[in-house]
Symmetry: D2
Subunit: 329 residues, 4 copies
């Protein structure tokens, strides 16, 4: 099954949600207490996906809110320099700040993030800042789960999804669960299921689907797709970490992708690079099986590097890795 | 078209939302500044509907949150004494209060309400206080729009609707728009359209549908039903005040109801008495045309009396009024 | 010792703080659940004191914030009709409401109050709404402890005290402790001691002084006055309920007042009527011993009646009671 | 006039307030948008003063609240390594973060700070976390104005000042005005004047005293000291930037200090280094005139270096600079 997209759209992908600052430990493989220097990058799942798509040659736009300060200006300048349309990145006028993520890399397997998300500007985008005329210009409207975590971003995101569906724009929902800012698992389940039922493509980890289904132990993929395929979704991707990922289509088919071998530096950015390459493949008319390979290859490239956004690969790098590896992990 | 309901359910109607206190002016036809005495009644749209249904012989249950104080206990005792199951009326433990509505009756046509809704207990019901096993026992699950106005009641209401649909319980959505507590018209539109799309029966005034559709001038009924019938609704009732009401069914039929003549004392409670009698008729297997008459007759009885809840009529009163009046206004 | 006041002031007393609505049970000696009718009065400690002072012939002014609604207008009209200058009662423009006190009179000894103080307008008076020129016109500036319970009223009250002291206006501090709105006992102690140290006259119950001193068991009067007389206070009144009250002056003298026999209907309003008659006596040049009698007599009159504000006595009633009773309880 | 301090105290100085993280631009003399790397230091005015005092050989303690995360642990470890007693640095248990200050150094004269102070842990220290037994052990209790900006830190600070005065501990008040977190100038004036009236030593810039006096244009030092010397203060320091600083004593004397020539890298940290060296001199029994020199010399050393805390000088450096310079700027 191939998903069909409308031609003659100004944008391949319009992403919605947060664009923030990552502060990555310069001195790593140690506790953050001992890290004295931090390197600044653009971060935030939907911003990373937009950057990833743009580096793969797609035309990307971004809807979000950033502060009118040095960090906000850096984000806009950086994304713009990567070819992303930033005309819908509105400036916060209330003195809010960008979210910050200080990364701690104790070892390749033990990474953690010290998050500053209190009163983050991205969560204050309002319904009136979402323009129907803009959303209509996308082949794919990509919404990140974190945008649902708090009002008024929550309502702006729900409105954006409503407008996309009304205009027959395909909605991709990256579950992108982050514990901070959500009040409870039940609250997350309410909004995740509302939006997943309306999306055309849903991408997430098994743990994120468990969150959507409000399960206390690990659920199974069949139950998940039985539920979602009663509603709008046509394509559901469920990631199982190093065990690879699965894609399911509404016509009953399923596909398995595997992770590529790599020298892991840190785990951050894997999901965002996966999503951008997967969407690139789908938009390029490749089959689902190939899209799984693109996603995995892109992820394995990013986890071997220091940043998430800056490390997003080009098509040639992804395809080279796929070529080299007929050996899966 | 007749809506079919499952047999063998413990409850005809389970209502969800606020149960509050009305303080009605004892001395009326004057500004409230000159009213020195107030009479206490149970109020709040879904509570009134539940009381109305119960007085019509239906088995009603209620899901809501009330304070553990004198007003909260009065509400529970009163509703219980009217035959309503109050087992799912949870007690607030944070010192919140019931909402209050002081009514001012300047003249039959000029009524206003002085509302106390700050930190009202009903808006603090949580997702974990909504029980799937209870909702499964209803023929109709009735949700009031005001329950969507604020978190965490908003999420509890969305979860309740999700559970009702999952269990094939018919959802009736009374738009019940109240300006206080909502942040903006756009916010209201987001949640009203989310729930209206999922409901089986939607009841509201023309102004309330304009709110749902985020219109700045009066919309038309055809556009409204064209939108809603693309989704779950089977039956849509749109009230036009003294010009009567319209019912539309998914099979393309439409029906017009007219208002009954009466000596109006005040306008409060008209919508709630309408909804309870309309649902009673539908649940009793009457046709939509009859249901419109039951609704109108019940409303005309309540507006001629001092209270909303205490004035809810019995079946015999409604049917007597319908008999007497083949003359519509 | 007699306290001296400046002559040629436009006001004897300017009170600062809350003016609210009391809703007193019409049917009493029963639980509030069984009370179906409520009578409306102006309430709130400093409003009651201002009304009490005005009925005793003093010229009173009031600084406070009231809503621009029916209850707010009633309060202003009532206070104005009692001769109080209401030019400094500013209107709230944010939709806040007056506080409400539903009184429950189970028996003369068991009275309780169901309070609505959430987002009460009086607590939102701001520093910029306090005018130095107005405060300068008072002989006594009366501040009620509840005005310190929350920002921005807290800062407005602190500014008002600062301005009064700067202009050599005598500050009377009625501790008036109410548990709601305060976050903790320690928070209360911080602000009570700050203001008590700056006041000239302090009036409160023993329990209220314990609160000021952050004591977990009952303190003793000597410790209290040892502390306060190191600072500004010249006169300290400590009330011990039915055991009467004590007044202490900075010159080392102490006085004891006793409670007058009466047929108690309810306990509300005793403190406010006490304060107004006590201040009346002091301002009239009577000695402290007489002032204690005026306070006690006024309190005993108010507790025998249904309201607090409306029941405030005239001078002749107080003096008649003092005359009749050379028998103290 | 020399201020006398009690002997036999465990601490010379106990500072109260915020201990945060400074993130200083590694690449400077450019807009922060172009700075890609940041160096981490301990920051926050009272923390810097405590570090400064400790490096000058004084025994310092600190009362504050830090998060239980990597930044919080770094702060505690760093301060402890500098010899400061951190036993009263309580851990926040609500997931709050340290404040952050990203410094932008456009040029030596144009420095600005991008502040993260939303929900900063230091502002959540509570009254119950302030121990009288600890405060009693200080010669000087140093309070920073920012600790008054928000509850509950505000009440904890007011309680700490109350306890210090009760136990005859000298209170030094560093006005340390920072615009964020305060609601309005009037609010600042209320709390600044409350604490300044109770302090023994007050240190601030002319602009900060204008804030305390709620002036809209520049005030004059004579009016300031006329006001403050009516209350507790014995010693008042008013800084006029490059024009030097003035010290006034209650006995009517005044002293002028001048700024030392230096090669300025940035302006941050000048005030904190000034305060620590000034207090060191006073505590060492030096006269006020000398103390002004110590303060100025210390400030001029810190502004020539990259950090605030790490750059705090030792006594020998200060004294060398004073020796070298009989030439004032």
């Amino acid at each position: 099954m191939a998903i069909s997209f409308e031609e003659n759209k100004a944008f391949d992908v319009i992403a919605f949600g947060r664009a923030c600052i990552d502060l990555n430990a310069v001195e790593y493989n140690r506790p953050m207490e001992e890290t004295m220097t931090f390197q600044k990058y653009v971060g935030g799942s939907p911003a990373n996906v937009a950057i990833g798509c743009s580096k793969l040659g797609l035309k990307a736009g971004f809807i979000g809110k950033i502060p009118d300060d040095q960090h906000g200006r850096f984000i806009e300048q950086y994304m713009s320099s990567k070819g992303i349309d930033t005309s819908q990145m509105v400036k916060d006028t209330e003195g809010r700040k960008t979210g910050l993520a200080f990364t701690e890399i104790l070892s390749p397997e033990e990474c953690s993030i010290l998050m500053y998300r209190e009163n983050a500007a991205d969560l204050y985008i309002t319904t009136s800042e979402v323009q129907e005329e803009y959303i209509k210009q996308a082949k794919i409207f990509l919404i990140s789960g974190t945008a649902l975590a708090q009002s008024p971003s929550r309502e702006a995101a729900l409105k954006a999804v409503h407008l996309a569906k009304k205009n027959n724009i395909k909605v991709a929902f990256e579950l992108d669960y982050r514990p901070y800012t959500w009040q409870s698992r039940e609250e997350t389940a309410v909004y995740y299921s509302l939006v997943a039922e309306k999306a055309d493509i849903v991408i997430g980890t098994r743990e994120e689907y468990d969150m959507m289904e409000n399960l206390s132990s690990e659920g199974d993929n069949q139950t998940t797709i039985d539920y979602l395929f009663q509603h709008e979704p046509e394509l559901v991707v469920i990631k199982h970490g190093v065990d690879g990922s699965y894609a399911y289509t509404k016509d009953g088919k399923s596909y398995q992708g595997k992770a590529y071998k790599t020298k892991v530096l840190k785990t951050f950015g894997a999901g965002d690079s996966y999503a951008s390459a997967f969407l690139y493949a789908i938009l390029s008319g490749k089959d689902v099986e190939s899209a799984l390979k693109y996603g995995s290859a892109s992820a394995s490239i990013v986890v071997s590097k220091h940043s998430s956004s800056e490390a997003m690969p080009e098509v040639s790098e992804i395809e080279a890795l796929i070529q080299e590896n007929n050996t899966y992990v």
